[in-house]
């Protein structure tokens, strides 16, 4: 691989975070204790810069770099963005706690940033090796963070348990990876996938390795029966650390499962699906039931995490695009909720005092109605009560499971989450209906309060507008094939999903693209070409009828006057006025053409065939024409230049008695208005 700065560009966020750690390390060395806030400030500023870099870099194309070790795609960008934002929030909460407990040291932020770097490496890993190293980077930082309060024997014990079990889990994972390497001879996900698709492998060895990999994932993410460490570590670690390790690494946990099982081992789907079903079922059951018996709120949240991770796995095991998107949605949303819930615990804490028991939340509504309200939102969201985002997270995951005919699993999921509602609502009851133990006002800093408020309101906002986040998640998996087609060619996958491929990325689907190899990024005409393929004197880029007969009389749109322009390729979902993805790409090109002809007005005419009632058809064609009009307006065509009209089946262009004729009659035309 030739060295080129361009290959380093996608790594910019990682490089920035690593540089940031080094800067904080050095600066912190020269600071006196009273100026420790400077390290914190540098860390926060650097995180914001890294966030901007992630968004900037994420606009680039999907790539696999460093000989298959690094992968950047939409999933990586979205997950990194959300992790960076959440780490900023986590540091704000942690600052208050650390000050109150005389732990305000630069090492917390350094180790936190190292953990973040590890997670970013995991999220963007292109092979087992990079993924494992990222995992170790995260785990080692977390072990040290758990033991951060070294005078606390509870924390040291928790760190020790975490370390021993973490090492065991790493061993399991590595053993599994070595088996996969032995059976395929490859260590990058792409290579492993290729070998699996070629069929030249030993199933027994691979499945044996897969078992260990799934156990490794189970340990690291805390799935039953590999969850034993979670409650002790949550309880023993300082709350600021629990906040960190209980929220953001769940996003990374989703990513490792996706990278290993879907990017690498998708052809073994039938094998890992069964294993994940067992793990997630046990997690949901045990997590929700045992959480009821807890009196320590950190332990309760640990069991709640276990049940949520079990729920999250449902989407991955369904192995469909919507399943992955639902799980990703769940992971991000869960991290947000967990961050808020632990944030409230920190907010309630005082100098040298930890909020640990459910009792401590008693009567919060009388001490601070606003923050009791915020906690109410967070608890409702965790329980999955409708106006909050937790409801949608659960709904999307369950929908994905139902869609792959695992209805019984969805039913179990619902039953256990209803059991889970009990302990979340108990907190609400304690806050609102019990007398407060102390009347002390909340002493938290203003920035903590602001971030907590934003955090809880985000839970509500995403609940009211779930599609804002879900659409981002769905985009990330638009190119991931369903499990059954793991080894099919891209064309077959695309045909199966009902979209055609656009191999040269010019916006015109291959089925209609007459020049299928135009360079990426070039503006092309409706036929996907540049130049003037029909020799009518109008360049393809602005030619709305690129197929007019040679030497035909055309006007400035490139079409013969008085002949309606039928928008070939603009189709709708059956019976509705929603545009298919293909149509949008066609309309993008049409919009670009129309924008250039700056004075001409157009009528968009919707037509249907004559099957069904004439009244319904007219309404449908009107709605479809409106949809096209709105889409063109959205793409920059002035609204004044477009009129939409639905004609129903009144103007057929072909025989309505044959299917082919009916297909031709269902069309959208664009007519010039003089």
């Amino acid at each position: 691989m030739a060295f080129d700065l361009n290959t380093l560009m996608p790594l910019l966020p990682e490089i920035m975070v690593l540089s940031l750690v080094c800067i904080v390390l050095v600066v912190d060395l020269f600071l006196d204790d009273e100026y420790r806030i400077v390290s914190y400030g540098i860390a926060q500023a650097g995180l914001i810069l890294a966030l901007l870099a992630t968004i900037m870099v994420g606009k680039g194309p999907d790539q696999t770099l460093f000989d298959g070790n690094y992968r950047i795609d939409t999933m990586a960008t979205v997950l990194k963005t959300s992790m960076l934002i959440l780490v900023v929030g986590a540091f704000v909460y942690a600052k208050d706690y650390l000050r109150n407990h005389n732990l305000f040291k630069g090492e917390f932020f350094e180790l936190g940033l190292f953990a973040l770097l590890g997670m970013m490496v995991m999220v963007s890993s292109g092979g087992f090796l990079a993924l494992y190293l990222g995992l170790e980077l995260l785990a080692l930082s977390l072990y040290a963070l758990v033991a951060f309060d070294r005078d606390s024997s509870k924390a040291s014990e928790a760190a020790m348990k975490y370390f021993v079990l973490g090492a065991l889990a790493s061993g399991m994972l590595l053993y599994g990876i070595s088996m996969v390497y032995g059976a395929t001879g490859r260590i990058d996900f792409g290579g492993v996938g290729e070998v699996l698709c070629s069929g030249q492998f030993d199933t027994t060895v691979l499945v044996f390795g897969l078992v260990f990999i799934v156990i490794g994932i189970g340990f690291k993410t805390g799935l039953v029966p590999f969850h034993m460490w979670a409650p002790d570590i949550y309880e023993g670690a300082p709350t600021a650390v629990t906040l960190f390790l209980g929220s953001i690494p769940k996003i990374a946990a989703f990513a490792i499962a996706m990278r290993m099982l879907v990017d690498g081992l998708l052809p073994l789907h039938e094998h890992w699906q069964g294993m994940l079903i067992i793990l997630s079922l046990l997690s949901m059951a045990l997590g929700n039931v045992v959480a009821i018996a807890q009196t320590n709120i950190k332990r309760m949240l640990a069991y709640s995490t276990i049940s949520h991770v079990g729920f999250l796995m449902l989407g991955i095991l369904s192995a469909t695009q919507e399943g992955y998107a639902a799980s990703m949605f769940y992971a991000i949303v869960y991290a947000l909720m967990a961050l808020g819930a632990f944030g409230v615990l920190i907010l309630l804490g005082r100098q040298g005092l930890d909020i640990e028991n459910l009792e401590d939340l008693k009567g919060l509504s009388r001490r601070s109605p606003w923050f009791a309200g915020m906690m109410l939102l967070l608890m409702f969201s965790m329980a999955g009560v409708p106006p909050t985002v937790g409801f949608f997270a659960k709904l999307f995951v369950l929908e994905a499971v139902v869609n792959v005919d695992l209805i019984w699993l969805a039913v179990f999921g619902v039953i256990f989450s209803i059991i889970g509602v009990f302990y979340y609502l108990r907190i609400v009851k304690l806050m609102y209906f019990d007398a407060p133990v102390s009347d002390e006002p909340l002493s938290a800093a203003i920035d903590t309060k602001v971030v907590l408020t934003l955090n809880a309101l985000a839970v509500l906002w995403f609940g009211l507008f779930p599609s804002s986040l879900l659409s981002v998640c769905s985009d990330a998996f638009a190119k991931v094939p369903p499990a059954a087609l793991a080894c099919a060619t891209p064309q077959v996958v695309a045909a199966n999903a009902g979209v055609s491929l656009d191999s040269d990325g010019d916006g015109v689907p291959d089925s209609m693209d007459r020049c299928a190899t135009t360079p990426v990024g070039l503006r092309v005409g409706r036929n996907g070409c540049v130049g003037d393929s029909d020799s009518d004197g109008i360049a393809d880029q602005i030619d709305m009828c690129p197929g007019t007969a040679a030497n035909a009389v055309v006007d400035e749109t490139g079409c013969s006057p008085d002949i309606a322009i039928v928008l070939e390729g603009v189709t709708f979902l059956s019976g509705s006025a929603s545009l298919t993805e293909d149509s949008k790409r066609v309309l993008d090109v049409v919009a670009a053409s129309i924008v250039r002809l700056d004075k001409q007005r157009f009528e968009i005419a919707g037509h249907t065939d004559t099957s069904g009632s004439a009244e319904l058809n007219r309404g449908l064609s009107q709605r479809r024409a409106e949809t096209v009009r709105l889409y063109l307006i959205e793409k920059g065509v002035s609204a004044l230049r477009l009129v939409a009209r639905g004609y129903g089946g009144a103007h057929p262009v072909a025989d309505n008695s044959t299917p082919e004729g009916r297909r031709r009659n269902r069309r959208v035309e664009i007519n010039r208005i003089r």
Binding site: D67, Y70, K105, L129, G134, E136, S141, A147, M179, V205
Partner: protein
Amino acid sequence: MTFEKFLFYFFAAMVIFAGLMLITRRNPVYSALFLVLAFFNAAGLWMLMEAEFLAITLVLVYVGAVMVLFLFVVMMLDINVAEMKPGCFITYLPVGILIALTMVVEMVMVVGPNHFGLDIYASPVPHAPGYSNTGELGSMLYTIYMYPFEIAAVILLVAIVAAIGLTLRRRPDTKSQNPSKQVLVKRDDRLRVVKMPSESKMELK
């Protein structure tokens, strides 16, 4: 049986023997020494596979550094050998043997000749005399595995930060000299002239 085959079985048997002795000795110093033996024999196995760099690293790093450190710790901790009764070992032995047997059977079934036999993976051809295992490893490490290699470096940095962060304590009661402060000291830091009003005449009662 060729000499190489003999060496393989010898080293392999020694590893297993050392491993068994390691877990059955009551004196931790013996256990540590048996672990050293196991490492040496594993290094011999790697040598047979022409991975001399890994073999030397194993001896240097594990035997030379890690185990010596380990022995130091064991000797300093002053563990009372008499207190470590064999009771626990015997109680859990049946369960242990059951699990160990299960794992051995499973591993033989999967890693055995059925799946990794010579008909599936041909035996490796010996390298030419000028072949440098170290050089090959280096050129792989610094090209194809550049990215993982860098992350491994970051992991070492974490280890340093974590180790120092968890063990370094500034004890306020220790007395130490700071030469730069001693040199920079001025008269005003040491001597304070206090003006006091002169005493008035005492009134006797």
